[in-house]
């Protein structure tokens, strides 16, 4: 069973964005939101969820419609679908996760301009069947998510000594003179952390290529 | 072409070395065996016309250049081809000839007046095997006989230290130089004679035959390439031809006597106090007859652009200076803390800069290989206003187009940028390699 899953096309489509085709650290897409929402783990996770949902649905919907969308207005159609999904996601967050949506502020709305969504719609959904497109959307959402969650965790731990709002840095460490790292709260810290991750990942990828 | 009487290329590079050969000029007899070594004919692809144990006479063709089929190199002496020496990839390196002075030299037509047309001069030079002695900018290759030179630069002073000084032999060669200039005049109206402003030679005899320029330059900067760079007013002169005074002497004598002139003037330096002097020698002579091997590095050509000689002791074609450079390793604790009063240094980092001691040249690298730290010294010393550090970046990035735009082809390969680099980067070698590659691509 596992072997069959592993050799399926959907599996390949799903896993590629998690590592060697990662949208953030390899393709360098979706950087703006990665800088803005990774101060805390919680906002990062919520953003990832919103993003993954929007991406999966938009990929699915656009892929199902791919044969009837007139070519000359396809970008507009993509935008309409994505924008509607984003607004719905934003409204839901405001209704059910008010605290987080306040911190995410405009960035949920800005999912619409996230390069990953338009990129996947153009590059994948319009050329593949809905089944694969949904897996591609999920994979890219999670690939984006891995980076965001790691960056969010590092920044929250460094900048506030907490994870998911819960203090994890022992009080004794603070008593010994430790201070939270203010730099982590600034957007440049996300640049640096993402840069380091991209560096690490590319080194590993190139080592893998050399090895194989 | 600009017409100044004197140009100044002062780039604050005035390092001094011990070992200047004495101006005394000694004459050496023909050695029992001589060798025609190709070490200084970089662009030539030789095709032999003689075989081992053939008998050859002075002035007889030995091989020609496959890319330039009319360009032959002739035997400097009569004798028997003793041995052909091949290097890696079956490349001909040297033709050894056992001298037999009983055989008469090949007799050419005596030309007591210069030929009347450029074509006549060219064919006379080609026929007498004298073409391989001059070079063309910017790749320092042997020019193609069918081309017309935009200008010819005649070098009266070699920029490198320890090369033959014209002043040491002037009485013997003055007339030949005048005759040589007459011959060159038939090839091209623009002849530029470049002399060292610091050497006292009377140039008046030649000033109505050619544009005479005295170059007041720092160490190693008075080269034909640098002179052309400072004199040119349009890009047509980029492909000027050049030669040194020894070439003029050679063609003048060969034309006048009808016998292939096989004498050159060379210097030995760094060998011993008694041996370091000027010599009149036969081309291709065996140096072991005057200077048996010692524990120093023997260098053909100058200290900045010479070739470390390996096994062969035969004077290569076109080489006029032989230096021996000290290779002994001196051990001192934390050398970088020294005041360095005795260290030759272009920079002010050592006291030697201010005291200006004469030091024996040494092969010590003086440091370890590092990345460029952008100190800018190379830019300070470049005689043709290049920005070597930018150029190096483009060369490393394989951006040859930009490198050319930044003046790569103006590089005279003087080696001074390499000399001053504290990170010990061989800039000059990289530029030379890029130029060579470029030349091969263009002429492929």
């Amino acid at each position: 069973m596992w072997r069959r899953i592993k050799s399926s096309q959907a599996f390949a489509v799903f896993t590629a964005p998690l590592s060697i085709k990662n949208p953030v650290s390899v393709l360098v897409l979706g950087i703006c939101s990665s800088l803005a929402v990774t101060i805390q783990l919680k906002t990062a996770v919520v953003m990832v969820l919103a993003m993954t949902v929007v991406l999966t649905f938009s990929n699915g919907i656009l892929s199902s419609l791919r044969k009837i969308i007139p070519k000359n207005i396809r970008i507009i159609v993509e935008l309409i679908v994505i924008a509607s999904l984003v607004i719905v996601a934003d409204q839901c967050l405001k209704a059910f996760m008010f605290d987080v949506s306040k911190q995410l502020s405009v960035f949920v709305g800005l999912i619409i301009t996230n390069c990953i969504i338009m990129g996947r719609a153009e590059a994948f959904a319009l050329a593949n069947n809905p089944w694969l497109s949904v897996w591609d959307g999920l994979g890219n959402g999670l690939g984006y998510g891995i980076i965001l969650i790691v960056v969010g965790a590092i920044r929250e731990l460094g900048g506030a000594g907490t994870l998911w709002g819960i203090s994890v840095m022992p009080e004794a460490v603070y008593d010994m003179g430790y201070v939270n790292m203010g730099l982590m709260v600034y957007a440049p810290a996300a640049f640096i952390v993402i840069g380091l991750m991209a560096w690490l990942q590319r080194t590993i990828i190139s080592d893998m290529r050399k090895g194989s | 072409m600009k017409k100044p009487e004197r140009i100044t290329i002062k780039k604050v590079f005035d390092v001094r070395f011990k070992g200047e050969p004495s101006p005394e000029c000694r004459v050496l007899p023909v050695s029992p065996r001589i060798g025609v070594s190709l070490a200084n004919l970089p662009s030539i692809k030789p095709k032999l016309v003689v075989a081992e144990s053939d008998t050859v006479v002075q002035g007889q063709a030995l091989f020609y250049d496959k890319t330039n089929p009319h360009v032959y190199v002739h035997a400097p002496v009569s004798g028997t081809v003793h041995r052909l020496v091949y290097g890696p990839r079956r490349q001909l390196q040297c033709i050894e000839i056992a001298t037999n002075s009983a055989l008469p030299p090949l007799a050419f037509e005596r030309l007591l007046t210069p030929p009347t047309s450029a074509a006549d001069t060219k064919s006379a030079l080609l026929e007498r095997g004298l073409w391989a002695y001059w070079r063309q900018l910017p790749f320092n290759t042997i020019p193609r006989p069918q081309d017309t030179p935009p200008a010819i630069v005649v070098q009266l002073a070699n920029p490198e230290p320890f090369h033959p000084r014209l002043s040491a032999v002037l009485p013997r060669v003055a007339n030949d130089i005048t005759a040589g200039l007459r011959i060159l005049q038939t090839l091209c109206p623009t002849i530029i004679v470049v002399a060292d402003a610091n050497e006292s030679i009377n140039l008046d005899d030649w000033s109505d035959m050619a544009q005479v320029v005295r170059v007041d330059a720092d160490f190693n900067h008075c080269s034909p390439g640098a002179a052309i760079y400072h004199l040119k007013d349009s890009d047509t002169y980029n492909h000027a031809w050049y030669c040194d005074w020894q070439f003029l002497v050679k063609i003048a004598q060969t034309f006048a006597t009808g016998v292939y002139a096989n004498q050159s003037y060379i210097t030995l330096s760094g060998y011993s106090d008694t041996a370091d002097a000027h010599y009149q020698v036969t081309d291709g002579m065996d140096l072991t007859t005057v200077a048996p091997p010692i524990a120093k590095r023997m260098v053909w050509g100058g200290l900045f652009s010479g070739i470390a000689a390996a096994e062969s002791f035969f004077l290569p074609v076109g080489i006029d200076a032989v230096s021996w450079v000290d290779t002994t390793e001196t051990v001192s604790l934390m050398p970088f803390l020294a005041l360095g009063a005795a260290k030759p240094s272009f920079t002010r980092a050592y006291l030697g800069h201010f005291l200006k001691p004469f030091t024996p040249p040494s092969t010590a690298l003086g440091g370890s290989y590092r990345d460029c730290v952008s100190c800018g010294h190379c830019e300070t010393v470049c005689p043709v206003h290049l920005m070597p550090q930018s150029l190096l970046r483009q060369v490393n990035a394989d951006d040859t187009d930009t490198a050319i735009r930044y003046g790569l082809l103006d590089c005279t390969q003087c080696g001074v940028c390499t000399y001053v680099c504290p990170a010990k980067i061989d800039l000059s070698a990289q530029f030379t390699a890029t130029k060579d590659r470029l030349y091969n691509e263009v002429n492929a």
Binding site: Y186 | F304, G306, Y350, D371, S390, L409, P422, A429
Partner: protein
């Protein structure tokens, strides 16, 4: 000495290709060349080489830093005893200074050296001596109150992000020591832009009711327009004080006089560019003069600080002499060095005066101009290339 040299040479096969400790070759190379220099000989056509190498280059910077370092150590002790209000002998001041400074310096060298060696081993290149300078410059820019773990983090950031990410010394475009300081500055602002600059625990200083603000702190906090100089003299600062440097501040930055001594050493030996230094002084003078002309009752009082004061307070002298002239991160070409230096001067004053948050602007000014250095070089190079007679194929 010869004996030691022979012993080291005998060990070489262990570290060369195929040897047991092949991976540690950079370490071996560093040990040998630090003690005896390189024994390499020239290859290629240039048979002789200049005696100058990067080791000498970097050592000269360190020598130029010795005066400010020694004075910094003394000043740390001096400020300590001044703050607790006890008279003390010269010896005890130096002792106190050493106990504060040496741990910072050793941390910086140990941690910085660790990263340098690690990258050299992984990337199989030689250890660059540039870190010897970075490791000393960084502590000198820190206040004596800095906790050691922040020093360690800072130098790690400076070496790894400021330098090794880009491929090591020579390829970095930011000054690593300043990158390290910028990291500490933005991460732990309370330690670097706070008001406590003297190595005294706060309880001890409260005992005698004495806190000391840096001259820049005093100037930035002036409430009255056109009264900066009055405020400074009220706080006990004169230009002479700032020149000599027995004032609170970062360890190495306080003495303008000794920075000038360092500048003299660097300029005489040709290691640093006088163009950059003069350019930055000009930048400060011009900008401060212009701003002085704009002063009115409604402007920020800090605008009124005179050019002379701008030159002597804060870390301007230290930055312009030792940081801005770092050859790797500053521009290569001489005209761009002028522009670069001038830009540093202008930005220093603007950041000090116009920006309400940071009373000191030298660090940010230099880092910002570092970023623009390649652009300046590019412009100058293009200008020059256009004037050349083309030499194409």
């Amino acid at each position: 000495m010869k004996f030691l040299y022979r012993r080291l040479q005998a060990l070489a096969p262990l570290f060369e290709k195929g040897g047991r400790f092949e991976r540690l070759y950079p370490l071996y190379e560093a040990v040998v060349t630090i003690h005896f220099g390189s024994s390499d000989t020239t290859r290629g056509r240039v048979q002789v080489r200049d005696a100058l190498d990067t080791k000498r280059f970097m050592i000269l910077v360190i020598i130029a830093l010795i005066p400010v370092t020694l004075f910094g150590i003394y000043n740390v002790g001096y400020q300590f005893y001044a703050a607790i209000g006890e008279p003390a002998s010269f010896g005890s001041m130096v002792m106190k200074g050493l106990t504060v400074f040496m741990p910072i310096l050793l941390t910086s060298y140990a941690v910085g050296g660790f990263w340098e060696v690690l990258f050299a081993v992984v990337r199989k290149h030689e250890i660059n001596e540039g870190f010897l300078v970075t490791g000393l410059l960084f502590p000198l820019t820190l206040p004596p109150t800095i906790p050691l773990w922040q020093v360690a983090l800072g130098i790690s950031f400076g070496i790894v992000i400021g330098k090794e990410v880009f491929g090591g010394t020579g390829k970095n475009f930011l000054n690593p020591a300043l990158t390290a300081r910028a990291f500490v500055y933005f991460s732990y602002p309370a330690y670097l832009s706070g008001e406590v600059w003297t190595a005294v625990s706060s309880s001890a200083s409260r005992l005698v009711g004495y806190t000391s603000a840096t001259p820049l702190g005093v100037a930035a906090a002036t409430a009255q327009p056109q009264a900066v100089t009055d405020a400074l003299s009220e706080a006990g600062y004169t230009v002479m004080h700032c020149m000599i440097g027995l004032i609170p501040g970062s360890i190495g930055e306080t003495s303008v006089l000794l920075c000038l001594v360092g500048a003299a050493i660097l300029i005489v030996t040709g290691v640093a560019s006088w163009r950059t230094m003069v350019g930055s002084v000009l930048g400060v003078v011009v900008t401060a003069t212009v701003l002085n002309g704009l002063v009115s009752d409604t402007t920020i009082p800090f605008l009124g600080m005179s050019p002379l004061w701008h030159l002597v307070v804060g870390s301007f002298a230290f930055g312009a002499v030792f940081m801005a002239t770092d050859p790797v991160s500053s521009p290569d070409l001489k005209p761009s060095k002028w522009v670069y230096g001038f830009g540093i001067g202008v930005l220093t004053v603007l950041i000090r005066v116009v920006n309400p948050a940071y009373p000191e602007g030298v660090m940010l000014a230099i880092l910002l101009m570092n970023v623009f250095a390649p652009l300046m070089d590019y412009s100058v190079a293009e200008y020059r290339v256009r004037k050349r007679i083309p030499n194409g194929l």
